[in-house]
Symmetry: C2
Subunit: 768 residues, 2 copies
């Protein structure tokens, strides 16, 4: 079967490219001096034994990030970046080490093995296996970190291939699928040097690691101090078995047989210890070899990928796409008959790993070939596949072409250069620090989910942190499904949950009913009336008190009249007529003097209190309003179009008009600490500030907010309260609205004040 | 203080007429032969000790209907009619006796005293008091039934009166209010004869009651066989104390003192036994006399009103308004100084009661005056009050004018006439039967609530039946509040309740999410896709199966194409294009052949299953379609404009067109048992029939409906299922929709099949 021809004639590029992708990335936690952190895995990340996304590998300080199975590499890459951001902000002033080869590890005995103890502190199996590895390989070697790339073709793709092939073959579908993956695996082993060459990024090691290389009695293991190596991780002193083990890739039967032999002769203790560059993966991980034999291969795991120090996720997206292309190449590439191909391939790997930056020759089917000419040959074939299958991977080809044509573009060369300039530790720390800052600036959002509301992004981010899976059931509606083990919760717009009852929502949705329920519970609300016809309005009581006249629905205060002292009858009528210009229902309410605060009640607790202030600047005595706005807008929390917790202040004609009322322009230089407001309204959407008051406002008010939520039966509720003086509960106050879908991002990321852990509170309330 | 002048100068008619109203009405349950029913108070009406609306009075067979305190007499009257309807349909073939004087009671000892036993069958205090009354007055006398009219002026009205008066008086507000009600009470006692004359409706008694009258040694107690009496109930052999007791109405102190004296000298056992024509009522009923003294008078109770046999409620609405006018008259009418006014008033009452149909004279301040001239005098004064206060009670004045000018219009005269024609028992039974039929025809609605949805009316009706109070919190939204003791439930549109969680509603509201959840729970749903752009649609699978193409939102099947066999590609595209003409989102779904059934799930039970059929008639071999439709439309369940469970069939051009397809016209005479459909669609709104299948469809399907509701967490859920053959679960079926706000009236009142007690199920689920 000429697969290339079959693909070309029968498959669309979409069918060929369809597949499932999953990424894993290890990373050491290090102190700000580049030493291995000796602290515990952060508690905020949940129990590492049960968090499917964030756990530890060999060492307690070796974080492992794991994406779920996703339908595109883009999604997997984004997910990995998100996991990075999540962890980076939970490790205090520690950093995530952006390099496959370990950081500064003076004393190997200090390396903490990952502690998987049960609730009584007894070590679990996972810990004892790590003890075994430590004794066998040494803990330092186990710190080597990398990227694993899990891949399967789309089931329909293989099925169609099998169908097209069935006339010529007696193979069952399952065995056919095995043959597909076995061929890919064999070719991958042959061509892995290409991947190591192009992606390798561990050209040097820290001085505390050098002894590991010297232990290996092999030319290829000597440290090349000139930094002409590509990947020590893939070298003989990298992450390899004690003895060279060649698995048998002719069939699944032979493959499992060979692994069983390695175990039987004591080379390894379990299939997990078989450090092959590519692994064949079964349907049931718990029952590895039996499942492989019985059910066949489910997917393959590519394991030769170094951490790319220049990438926050540890791997470049175009490189990930390149691996995909390489695996398709491995599928279609005819195999040579050379018998000692495995030995040759390993030798090529080791040669590339340690000498790859030199102008070297590799062995191809027993014959020498220069690195350059073989690379060119493969590049032509890749280009050819791309165009014949119409894969539209021109960007990927361009990306690797740059590296092939000029080794200066190789990550190994680039990091070696930086290390030479700064030293191994400092150069990596600097990068790690930048990634951490980037994570901080992204803290309110989740990559790949930016089309969702901020509140939903924040909630999903917290869920992932805790190892709760998230499925988006209706993207447009911000409708998600959270799942941990058998516990499932559907959530819409972050705060519409199963915690609240349907009638609670209906009560809050109806302002008249809400007010009635609050009044019945003796919770102060501004007394008011609503009417569509002035003749039905009983205006008398409002002639005796300060009051507000407003259209029932209003934005930005249009059509509102405020009487801070009792109005005359004529003034009241005029105000009502004005309000009727904007709505056919008008509300008159008792006026409560004061500021408006949003109390966010979750469960029986006020978890955040916020006050909004109109867009403003505070003078420094030197800068103009224009300059102050420019500076203020630099805050990463400020953006445009509701993609950030705050909006940039726009200096538009509204601002000019507003300033003009005080005879000011944007060229005015406010004196030091002078606050200049730029607008009337305090909406966040026009550049207003959100100020956290959670700790400033006393329990008297918090209890009233909780009582209001309780009155309508709400578990999650935004309570809008007007308070005359928050330090003095004896002064006036009143609840003006209850919100059944309160935003959480405003409390999570206020302009001023503590960032509140609202998403965590919601998940807690859901018993996750 | 000249109240009349003060009112005229300072008060609007609205202020004068404002007040609170409550009605009570007793009625005997009788057999269809007019004998006292010996059965128990119906269980469906709840525990009579705790139902505030429907209880029993002296006898177990003496139903007492009690309205809550309402703001208008109209509401009170409507509420009373509703209570009547509720009870009338819960007493099997018994009837409610429409007459104050008792029915056929052969043996006094048979009269069952109301059984207020506790859960262990032990009699409670209420029962022993009745034993005492039976021994003292005889059970027969205690069966006399009437109407009580509870009234208070609006608090603001009295307050304003007091304010205007305060310069001239040292009275506290509370004592002032007492004085107001005391004056009304005194004048009421003086003028009650007017009310008895105009409203009296017990001009004869049944032969088994005559002995009661003969017992009384008083001329006024003799039975006037010529039927010239007005009200035996208000006569000496009516509902009176053993000895004449005159309460002292000069002040609350004197009033309570006089009652205490009656008790002390053994005339009565408790204030409850003081059978005065008007009672002064305190704020705390449980603490009657103390509360009167301490808190003053809260309201007054007018007790002279006979049951009007011609009114379902037992009292005419214009008469109720007349009483209101009379009480205002009692407030403004200057009092005469005549000392023996109480004796004179009682004498006038007795004279009117037994001789009122004659041309009699009464005593006014010790002087004789003819009934006619005194009536005219009072009528002039009432007319005067009406015009001076602008009360707009012309209709009331007209109503009583008719009676005054021609005694034939008096209810006493009219019922006497009917009794003479038919006999005492038959004439009343006939009326009772008519009222019962009227109650049956009204069974799906609630008077005064007709603007609410039928489902809400049905739910409120069931609530009232069980003694659960209902408050309408938002009329337009069908938002109600049910309350029994401390148990409160808010309900919107009958089935939106606190039973369901907010997220359950959100899941059901989103068709995509609903389907996903059902699929995850292995509940059969038609597989389908939804798309806004044909290029994104994966059509292939639908080329292989029967399917339906439809616009996402559709009414009456417009834009829908059904392929009962797999369509060709071109046909599918054409159908999609048609669907896109009606919506910008199109759905293609697997086609399930069969009928659609609505399963109503409440809790974990299917409480109703319904199938809708297009408007149709079934032939009798004689009538034309037109005639058959005319007959079918007579069903009281059929109406116009969604005010009834079914709609009348309209013979419009759509029907003509539809019939034309079969070459028929509405003049066609279908043969016997031939069903002729008149329309394509099965909507109830176009005259379709609703057919109950609850008992026909087996548990297999019911379990699936319950499982679907459980899957989304719904406690109340309408499950729409397509079923190929409801007798055969092995054939095709699938759930096409879940409804979070299912109508209940369609199950409560189907065209064919059992009327299901849905409202009862909802209240049960709420633990009422």
């Amino acid at each position: 079967m000429n697969i290339k021809q079959v693909l070309k004639n029968n498959f669309t590029s979409k069918e060929i490219l369809a597949g499932s992708f999953g990424l894993e990335r290890e990373s050491l936690r290090v102190t700000k001096n580049g030493k291995l952190a000796l602290t515990k895995h952060p508690e905020a990340l949940g129990d590492k034994a049960f968090n499917p996304f964030i756990t530890t590998d060999f060492s307690e300080s070796q974080v492992e990030l794991i994406t779920p199975v996703l339908q595109t590499v883009e999604e997997a890459h984004e997910f990995l970046e998100n996991l990075y951001d999540i962890v980076a902000l939970e490790i205090g002033d520690e950093l995530l080490w952006p390099q496959s080869m370990p950081c500064d590890v003076e004393d190997e005995n200090e390396i903490p093995i990952a502690n998987f103890s049960d609730e009584f502190g007894r070590p679990k199996g996972d810990t004892s296996y790590r003890e075994y590895l430590k004794n066998k390989y040494g803990a330092r070697k186990q710190l080597i970190s990398g990227i694993h790339y899990n891949f399967s073709f789309d089931e329909n793709f293989i099925y169609k291939l099998w169908s097209l092939n069935s006339n010529n073959s007696k193979l069952s579908y399952s065995r056919f699928k095995d043959q597909i993956y076995l061929k890919v695996a064999r070719n991958y082993l042959r061509y892995r040097w290409v991947l190591i060459y192009l992606l390798g990024a561990s050209p040097l090691v820290h001085s505390t690691y050098e002894q590991e290389c010297n232990k290996v009695g092999n030319e290829m293991s000597q440290i090349n101090c000139e930094g002409l190596a590509i990947s020590y991780r893939n070298s003989a002193c990298g992450y390899e078995n004690k003895t060279v083990l060649y698995g048998n890739y002719t069939s699944v039967t032979e493959y499992t047989k060979s692994i069983c032999n390695f175990i039987r002769n004591g080379s390894i203790e379990s299939h997990k210890e078989f450090y092959s560059s590519i692994r064949l993966k079964p349907y049931s991980i718990d029952n590895f070899l039996e499942s492989l034999l019985k059910d066949g291969i489910k997917y393959i795991e590519v394991r030769s990928i170094d951490i790319n120090p220049f990438e926050k996720s540890g791997v470049n997206l175009l490189d990930l796409k390149f691996i995909h292309l390489l695996l398709i190449y491995c599928l279609v590439k005819e195999e040579d008959e050379f018998e000692l191909w495995q030995e040759e391939a390993l030798s090529n790997q080791h040669f590339i790993a340690v000498r790859g930056q030199n102008n070297i020759s590799l062995m191809k089917n027993g014959k020498s070939i220069t690195l350059g000419s073989w690379l060119d040959e493969i590049f032509v074939e890749l280009t050819n596949i791309n165009s014949e299958f119409e894969l539209e991977m021109e960007d990927v080809l361009e990306h690797i072409k740059l590296k092939i044509s000029n080794p200066k573009n190789l990550p190994s060369v680039q990091i070696a250069q930086q290390i030479k300039e700064q030293d191994f530790i400092k150069s990596h720390l600097k990068i790690a620090q930048q990634f951490k800052e980037n994570a901080f600036n992204n803290r309110f959002k989740l990559k790949g989910y930016e089309d969702l509301e901020l509140s939903t992004q924040i909630l999903i981010k917290e869920a992932l942190k805790q190892g709760i899976s998230c499925e988006i059931v209706d993207r447009f509606e911000n409708f998600i499904k959270l799942k941990k083990d058998s516990h499932v919760e559907y959530i819409k717009q972050a705060t519409k949950t199963g915690l609240d009852s349907y009638i609670t929502y209906l009560i809050m949705e109806n302002k008249v009913v809400t007010k009635q329920v609050l009044e019945e519970n003796n919770i102060p609300v501004p007394k008011g009336i609503e009417f569509s016809n002035i003749e039905n309005a009983n205006l008398e009581e409002f002639l005796a008190k300060a009051c507000v006249v407003k259209p029932k629905s209003t934005n930005f205060g249009i059509g509102i009249s405020i009487f801070t002292t009792p109005p005359t009858y004529q003034d009241l009528i005029t105000a009502i007529e004005l309000a009727f210009e904007h709505d056919n229902t008008v509300i008159i309410e008792e006026f409560i003097n004061g500021k408006e605060y949003r109390f966010l009640v979750i469960g029986d607790e006020v978890v955040g209190i916020l006050n909004r202030q109109p867009a403003n600047v505070i003078g420094d005595g030197k800068s103009t309003i224009e300059q102050l706005v420019y500076e203020k807008n630099k805050d990463s929390l400020r953006g445009k179009g509701y993609k950030t917790p705050l909006e940039k202040i726009m200096l538009d004609e509204h601002v000019d008009l507003f300033l003009k009322q005080s005879n000011l322009t944007t060229k005015y230089i406010p004196s030091e600490n002078e606050t200049v407001y730029l607008r009337e309204n305090s909406n966040i959407s026009t550049g207003g500030d959100s100020i956290d008051y959670t700790d400033k406002i006393g329990d008297e008010f918090k209890m009233i907010a909780v009582k209001a939520a309780l009155a309508v039966g709400a578990k999650i509720c935004g309570v809008d309260m007007i308070i005359e003086d928050y330090k003095n509960p004896d002064r006036g106050f009143g609840i003006i609205e209850l919100n059944f879908n309160p935003a959480i991002h405003i409390h999570s990321f206020p302009y001023k004040g503590e960032e509140r852990q609202i998403a965590k509170k919601i998940l807690e309330l859901m018993n996750f």
